[in-house]
C-alpha cells in the first residue's frame, strides 16, 4: 500500500495536465518540493485506510476467484477438494455450468444460482437503463422547474430531499406496503395487481420505487449544473428573438451537458450495483435478481465462486465507467475541479 503514496517518480508525465484549480498564490514554485512532502503525510492516512478497506479485499477476491471451493457441492452432494481452479469459476459463471457428478461440468439445472447469471445480468442492465432514463428525464424536468423563480421554490427544493433522506431499506418496505394487494396503489388506480407476484409487475415495482428514491439526487445535480449558466446568456438569446425551445436546445442542453453526463454516470454506476431495493421488495423473486443479489446468495454456497462473480460484476461496472468517461465525455475528475487521470 505504501507504494501508492505521494510523489514516487514512476510516470513523470502523469500529473502534467493543465492545472485548473491550483492555489492562486504567486511564487509557489519554490514550495512544490516541500508541498509534495506535506501532501504525502497528509494523504498517507487516507491512502492507507482505503488500501486496507478496498485494495486489500479486491486483491484477495481476485486471488480467491482462481481457487476451487472446498466442501460439499450443493448440487451433487459430493465432497470436492479446494486448490487452484484456474479460470474455471469464471468459465462456470459465464457458461452457466455447474459441477457434474464424477467430475466435469454440465449446464446448471434451472433454479440453481449458477443458471441465473445471464438473466441476472439482463435484469441488472434492464433496471439500470430504465431507471436512469426515467430519472434523467424526470430529474431534468424537476431541475428546470426548481431553477425558476416562484413563490414556494424553497419548499420544493426541501421536499425533493425527503425521498433522498429516507434509507433505502425503509423505502423498500414502504413501497412493499403501498404495492400490497390491498394497498393504496391498487386502490388508487382501481386495479387488482399482485405486484410482487409475477415478473413484470415485480420489475415495475422495483423500477418505480427506485425512480422515486433517486430522482431527487439527479434533479439536484442537474439543478447545480443549470445554475452555473449565466442569466445574461438567456437574456441575450431572448433579445435575438429565439424561441423557448431554441434556447433549451442551443443553450441549456449543451451548457448543462457536462454536469448531466456526470449525474448520469453516477446514477448508472449506482444502479448497476442495485441491491437493497429488490432484495427487500421482491427478495429477488420473479426475475428481479440483480448481480449483487446473486453474489450475496452465492456467498454461503462457496466463497471462491462468489468471489469470481463479484469480480465479474466489478469488471462490468468498471467497463461501463470506462465507456462513459472515454466515449461519452463524462469527465468526472475535471468536473470535480481537476484534470487528468480520472476514473478509468
Amino acid at each position: 500500500m505504501a507504494t501508492e503514496l505521494g510523489p514516487t517518480p514512476v510516470k513523470p508525465a502523469s500529473g502534467a495536465a493543465p492545472v485548473h484549480h491550483g492555489p492562486k498564490g504567486v511564487g509557489e514554485d519554490n514550495k512544490i518540493l516541500s508541498q509534495g512532502k506535506w501532501a504525502t503525510w497528509l494523504l498517507a492516512p487516507t491512502i492507507i485506510a482505503l488500501g486496507i478497506v478496498i485494495v486489500y479485499p479486491i486483491i484477495s477476491a481476485i486471488v480467491m476467484s482462481f481457487q476451487k471451493d472446498a466442501g460439499l457441492d450443493p448440487v451433487t452432494g459430493l465432497f470436492t477438494a479446494g486448490g487452484p481452479a484456474g479460470i474455471q469459476n469464471y468459465v462456470n459463471w459465464l457458461g452457466q455450468q455447474c459441477a457434474a457428478q464424477g467430475g466435469g461440468t454440465v449446464a446448471c439445472p434451472p433454479g440453481t444460482l449458477g443458471g441465473q447469471f445471464w438473466t441476472a445480468t439482463g435484469t441488472t442492465f434492464l433496471f439500470t437503463v430504465v431507471t436512469v432514463a426515467f430519472e434523467t428525464v424526470l430529474g431534468f424536468w424537476m431541475a428546470m422547474i426548481m431553477s425558476r423563480t416562484f413563490k414556494g421554490r424553497g419548499l420544493v427544493r426541501a421536499a425533493v430531499l425527503v425521498p433522498w433522506a429516507i434509507p433505502t431499506a425503509v423505502t423498500a418496505q414502504l413501497w412493499l406496503f403501498m404495492f400490497d394487494f390491498n394497498g393504496i396503489i391498487n386502490k388508487l388506480f382501481n386495479v387488482s395487481i399482485l405486484w410482487t407476484g409475477s415478473e413484470w409487475p415485480a420489475k415495475w415495482a422495483v423500477i418505480i420505487a427506485d425512480t422515486w428514491k433517486t430522482t431527487p439526487f439527479m434533479a439536484l445535480l442537474i439543478l447545480a449544473g443549470l445554475q452555473m449558466i449565466p442569466a445574461e446568456v438567456y437574456e441575450a438569446a431572448k433579445v435575438d428573438g429565439t424561441t423557448a425551445w431554441q434556447r433549451f436546445r442551443l443553450i441549456t442542453l449543451p451548457l448543462v451537458k457536462p454536469a448531466l453526463m456526470v449525474a448520469i454516470l453516477f446514477r448508472t454506476l449506482d444502479a448497476l450495483r442495485m441491491f437493497d431495493l429488490p432484495y427487500i421488495l421482491t427478495g429477488g423473486a420473479n426475475n428481479t435478481t440483480t448481480l449483487s443479489i446473486l453474489v450475496i446468495n452465492q456467498i454461503r454456497q462457496g466463497f471462491n465462486s462468489a468471489a469470481a462473480l463479484s469480480t465479474i460484476t466489478f469488471i462490468i461496472i468498471f467497463l461501463v465507467a470506462f465507456i462513459f468517461v472515454r466515449f461519452l465525455g463524462a469527465n468526472v475528475v475535471e468536473q470535480s475541479g481537476a484534470t487528468g487521470k480520472g476514473k478509468k
Binding site: 500529473g15 495536465a17 484549480h21 492555489p23 509534495g36 506535506w38 501532501a39 497528509l42 492516512p45 491512502i47 485506510a49 482505503l50 478497506v53 478496498i54 486489500y56 479485499p57 479486491i58 480467491m64 424553497g154 419548499l155 426541501a158 421536499a159 425533493v160 430531499l161 425527503v162 433522506a165 429516507i166 434509507p167 431499506a169 425503509v170 418496505q173 413501497w175 403501498m178 400490497d180 386502490k187 422515486w212 431527487p216 439536484l220 445535480l221 447545480a224 452555473m228 454536469a259 456526470v262 437493497d276 432484495y279 448481480l291 449483487s292 453474489v295 456467498i299 466463497f303 462468489a306 468471489a307 463479484s310 468536473q335 470535480s336 475541479g337 481537476a338 487521470k341 476514473k343 478509468k344
Partner: protein, 298 residues
C-alpha cells in the same frame, strides 16, 4: 394608402403579440405552479403515507382514507416490543454507534487528505483524486466476499468492527471529495496572511482555517453519517442479532403472525428512523445540497 394600411395592420399585429405574450407569461407561471405541486406530491405522498400508516390502528392497516384516521401510538410501542424477536431499540443504538464511529474516523483521516488535495501542489494529485472518486463508486459486493471469509476466519463475524471497517470504504472517499470541494472555495488568502504574520503552515491550518472550515466539516459529517446510517448490504451479511443496524432490523421485521407482515409497526419504525434525518436535512438544506452536488459540479 397601402403603407398606412400596412402600418395599422402591423400595429394591430404587435398589439396582438403583446397581449399574447402576456397571456403566455400568465400561462407559464400557472404551469410552473402546477408542476411544482406535482413535484411536491410525488416526493412527499409516499413519505406522508408512511407517517399516516404509522399512526393507524393495526386493524385499519389497509384503510385508504387519505387523512389520519383511527389514530393511535400503539405501533410505536409495538416497534420497540421485543417479544416477537425484534430488537429495534438495540438496532437504533447500533446504528448510532456505527454511524458516529465511521463518521469520526472518516473525518479525522479525510480532513488532512482534503486539505492536501484542495490546497497543495504535488505530483500525482489527479491520480489520487481519481482513485478516491473511483473508490466512492465502488460496488459493495466486490468487497463482501473476501471480508466475509476473513471475518469468519478471525472470528469477527457479527462484531461492531466488522460493520465499521467496510463502511469506511465508501464513507471515507465521500468525506474526502466533499471536503475537498468545500475547501477549494474557502478564503485561503487568510492563510497566506497568517503565514506572513509568522505562523507555520500547520499553525495557519489549526488557528485560521479550522474555524472557517467548521461549517463545511459539519455538513460533511451529516452526509457521512447518513450514508453510514443507510447502509444495508454489508450489514445484512456481517451483523448478528445483537449488532444489526436499523436498516437490517426494518428489512426483517417480524410480526405476531409469521405469514403476516406487521406493516403498521414497520411504518412506525421507518418513521422513527427517518424523521431525525429529514429534520436534519431540512434544517441544513442549503449546505447539504451544496455538499451533495459538490463532487459533480464545480
Amino acid at each position: 394608402m397601402t403603407t398606412t394600411a400596412a402600418s395599422t395592420a402591423l400595429r394591430a399585429e404587435q398589439d396582438k403579440g403583446r397581449k399574447a405574450s402576456q397571456t403566455r407569461e400568465k400561462w407559464a407561471s400557472a404551469r410552473t405552479y402546477i408542476s411544482a405541486a406535482v413535484i411536491l406530491v410525488w416526493c412527499l405522498a409516499p413519505a406522508y403515507w408512511m407517517v399516516v400508516t404509522a399512526f393507524r390502528e393495526v386493524g385499519f392497516t389497509y384503510d385508504t382514507t387519505p387523512w389520519p384516521t383511527h389514530v393511535t401510538l400503539d405501533n410505536f410501542i409495538t416497534a420497540f416490543d421485543t417479544s416477537f424477536g425484534n430488537r429495534f431499540g438495540q438496532a437504533l443504538l447500533n446504528s448510532i454507534f456505527i454511524g458516529v464511529t465511521v463518521t469520526v474516523i472518516s473525518l479525522v483521516i479525510g480532513v488532512f487528505a482534503a486539505y492536501a488535495l484542495a490546497r497543495l501542489n504535488f505530483r500525482f494529485k489527479y491520480l489520487v483524486l481519481g482513485f478516491i472518486l473511483g473508490a466512492s463508486m465502488f460496488p459493495g459486493v466486490a468487497l463482501i466476499t473476501p471480508l466475509f471469509q476473513l471475518f469468519t476466519n478471525i472470528g469477527w463475524m457479527g462484531s461492531y468492527q466488522a460493520l465499521i471497517i467496510p463502511n469506511i470504504s465508501f464513507v471515507l472517499p465521500l468525506t474526502v471529495y466533499t471536503l475537498t470541494s468545500f475547501f477549494r472555495e474557502m478564503p485561503w488568502e487568510l492563510e497566506e496572511s497568517a503565514r506572513v504574520d509568522g505562523c507555520t503552515q500547520g499553525q495557519a491550518f489549526r488557528k485560521v482555517i479550522m474555524p472557517l472550515a467548521a461549517p463545511a466539516i459539519f455538513t460533511t459529517a451529516i452526509l457521512a453519517f447518513i450514508s453510514s446510517w443507510n447502509e444495508f448490504l454489508i450489514a445484512s451479511q456481517l451483523s448478528n442479532e445483537a449488532t444489526k443496524p436499523v436498516t437490517v432490523a426494518i428489512a426483517s421485521f417480524a410480526g405476531a403472525q409469521p405469514n403476516q407482515i406487521p406493516y403498521t409497526a414497520i411504518m412506525a419504525a421507518g418513521t422513527i428512523v427517518t424523521i431525525p434525518l429529514v429534520i436534519l436535512v431540512l434544517v441544513f438544506q442549503r449546505k447539504i445540497v451544496a455538499g451533495l452536488t459538490a463532487g459533480a459540479v464545480k
